[in-house]
């Protein structure tokens, strides 16, 4: 029954613990919808045939034009019934909704960063992947998501989950895959030119294989069985330069004149060098300090005077609106690629061993 209806309605496979329950409500609602509209339509058709005025005769006054009493009575009954039905849907639907939104305690947490136009995943032990999310099957997974640029939406049709990913905020979603396999991630909130190409993949592994995958670094060889599918690469609708973000970032940095003040070889200049910048602790005015993570680097491009590196003068203009979001992402990637190059401090002195800080996703 479930399988027949699912195929009839073109619903994707049910691969999360909530999918079956949600689909049951789906069948209920859709069959009532279809039955209701067909019923109303048929009733109208029957009345048309039954009360059809002969087309060749001229219209005459209708002696029954004022007949109305039973209709009002019937309507009240029908409407009370309908309201009860709708409220039942609401009760079931809102309970399921809360269940969808509240992750169980102890779920495995994965950090998701969305940006134009890719998904990035950071796992509890620091491992990171792009586009492909590896999870153990039959284990609740909680996604803690934020966006670097515009609103995206994390959508896995096979799991019946979707959650907008909002910049400046963390939103969460959770799921528990019922069996190992590969499931497509789609971006469901319009996010620009590459929106439809912003796809990814959840690869659910047997928990033991997941452990092995975590231990394996870098990951080599496919996991066991049919579950493994080549990770998706975003080629559709996105130019090849976009894929190689580092090259794109270098080009954008040169084009926007970044490299006139920032060096990439570690030597000091008008602004802090980009070499070894990413992930380091940046001293600010006074005793404050911050971590040069993606957020800080982005902020420094858009609002450069907000947090100034101690020892440098606030001469940098804001690039807010002058630089496309995609270029911002690319430049950050470019800076990240220089993280292991040695660097000098503001006055050319050796800043000592670079202290690596944490990364906020």
């Amino acid at each position: 029954m479930n399988e027949t209806l699912r195929r009839l309605l073109f619903l994707p496979q049910q691969r999360s613990t909530v999918a079956h329950d949600i689909d049951s409500l789906h069948y209920f609602v859709i069959s009532v919808t279809l039955a209701g509209s067909v019923l109303v339509f048929l009733l109208a058709a029957i009345f048309t045939i039954r009360y059809r005025h002969p087309p060749e005769e001229p219209p005459t006054p209708n002696p029954e034009a004022n007949y109305r009493r039973p209709a009002v009575l019937m309507e009240i009954v029908i409407l009370a019934g309908l309201l009860t039905l709708f409220l039942t849907w609401w009760v079931i639907g809102s309970r399921q909704f809360v269940r969808l939104r509240v992750a169980p305690e102890g779920a495995l947490e994965v950090y998701v960063t969305a940006k134009q136009w890719m998904w990035k995943f950071a796992y509890p032990d620091g491992k990171r992947t792009i586009t492909t999310l590896y999870v153990p099957a039959r284990t609740p997974i909680k996604l803690i998501m934020t966006s670097r640029d515009v609103i995206h939406s994390f959508y896995v049709p096979d799991f019946r989950i979707k959650q907008d990913v909002v910049p400046g905020r963390y939103t969460t979603a959770w799921f528990q895959v019922t069996e190992p396999g590969s499931y497509q991630i789609l971006c469901a909130e319009y996010c620009g030119t590459g929106h439809s190409a912003m796809r990814g993949e959840v690869i659910a592994l047997e928990p033991s294989e997941y452990e092995r995958w975590l231990a394996d670094r870098p990951f080599t060889g496919g996991p066991a069985g049919e579950a493994y599918v080549e990770p998706y690469t975003p080629e559709e609708g996105v130019s090849p330069q976009m894929i190689n973000l580092v090259n794109e970032g270098q080009r954008a940095a040169a084009e926007h004149g970044c490299l006139r003040c920032h060096t990439t070889d570690g030597s000091a200049h008008i602004g802090p060098t980009w070499a070894g910048l990413y992930g380091s602790i940046v001293p600010l005015a006074g005793e404050a300090q911050t971590v040069a993570d993606e957020a800080y680097i982005t902020q420094s491009m858009m609002d450069p005077t907000a947090k100034i590196h101690r020892g440098y003068v606030a001469v940098m203009p804001s690039f807010l609106g002058r630089i496309r979001p995609a270029e911002t992402a690319a430049i950050v990637e470019f800076i990240k690629s220089l993280r292991s190059v040695p660097r000098q401090g503001p006055g050319g002195e050796d800043p000592g061993p670079v202290r690596m800080g944490g990364i906020t996703p």
């Binding site: 109303v40 058709a45 009002v72 309201l83 809102s94 609103i151 909002v166 030119t193 559709e236």
Partner: protein, 556 residues
Amino acid sequence: MTSGTYEADLVGDKEVAPPSHVPTDALVDYLRADRGIRSWLLTTDHKRIALMFYVVIVFSLILGGVFALLLRTELLTPERTVMDAVTYNRMFTLHGVTMVWLFMIPAIPNTFGNFVLPIMLGAKDLAFPRLNLASFYVYLLGCVVTLGAMVWGGADTGWTFYVPYSTTSQSAVVPVVLGIFIFGISSIMTAVNFIVTTHTMRSANLSWFRLPLFVWALYGTSVIMLLATPVLGLSVIVVALDHAFHLGIFDPALGGDPVLFQHLFWFYSHPAVYIMILPAQGVMSEVVCTFSRRQPASYAAIAISSLGIALVGFGTWGHHMFVAGMSEFDANVFGVLSMFVAIFSAIKVFTWVATMHRGSIHFNTPMLYFFWFLFLFVFGGMTGVAVATESLDVHWHDTYFVVAHFHFIMVGGTLTGFLAAVHYWFPKMFGRLYSERMGLLTSFAVFTGFVLTFFPQFLLGNAGMPRRYYSYPARYQWLNVLSTGGAWLLGGALVLTLVNLLVALFWGRRATANPWGSRGYEWMTPVLPPKTNFAATPVIGRGPYDYHRPEEEAHA
């Protein structure tokens, strides 16, 4: 369709046969009362302004339709077919903006509402005729600004202008939202005019519960236009300022919350759906009574539901935001309020069907459109309840299911209502009869094309295809091909409809004053209403649906 009995009403072009008690010179029809282009461009006659709106709105419909066909053609194949992603994104934004603000919002109120509202009230004109004319020119300016943005390539944000995409997009967002602000001004002008007219211009004896149901629908629409549009105006202005000067009110980098924009946007845009559907429902109330020759099964139920939809509709905007990062508490509140608004539409549907019971049904083109409307609106509306069911919406949100749902309401509801009105009031507006056979044929074709276009989209949405996708996984292709085929059929059917009406406009048979035998007040005027509608303010001593009386008596 009429014959025999109404020979007396059959009047020729020049020889208007006036009832004996009114002077003849007052009855020169509105199309010939004044001559010259100036008499049109500077007219304050509500009927002429209605016709000017009509022309621009039909042009907008054609334009939006062409955009739609291009979009559907692009979606024939999973990858590039005729255009690139950038063009596609701008095209669907243009399609949405054109269809929503240039076509659907003003479609029925500003053309048919403008034309028949004063006549239905027994008034000579709207309360503020010059404001009415200004509304037209402001609307025209809005068209110029919005479509003029195409010179810079148009915006690529979608008609929803979600921040922060819209505030950072490199496309021409500012002129487009400015155009929408201008449309808003036009909407408010019309709304003020309609509300005041309904309150203060009713002829003596015309109590609220004798008003034609179309007037109630227009009244509800005007309330929404009046009180929701300014919130949209403000939110698009903030988007424009953000885009131009980076004020950062919604910018997360400056501590803003993009979800708040969605609150403001949907506070207008959900009620705006009722701006589109309420007038169509009003048209259908008129059509079903006229062609069933029957008083509505419950007049009060339909009249009060119009106001109920208008007011309760304001409290449901959050069901567009279940997965947007809104709180669960708000989601539940909006979820339950959405269920209540559906009840008012259900009341109307049942009353219409009950009206056909024991009627004397005449099967003309407007009535056929009523049938399509009934099916499409019920199915579209019920799927609306379905997507307002929170857990189901999580899967459906921003997929083609939602696209199919709102096209069922907007195309199946508003466009069908618009086409029914086009045919229903055609004899009154132009004094000619269209070909009934062609009318029925095109109506069938419109319905077939429509179902073929949008039914597959429900299945696409179930299968998980998100909306606004330029390219899509290959498994969705055959349903997309079906949908595109339907779209071309629908486009062809609409062109045929237009041709049929243009032929009727120039070569159609001359109409009688009341070809449908309706008891509605607007049909009491001569074939073409004179400039001031009535020679003397009429005293209306009966209801608009008194089909138990003979027509002569009813019109006496």
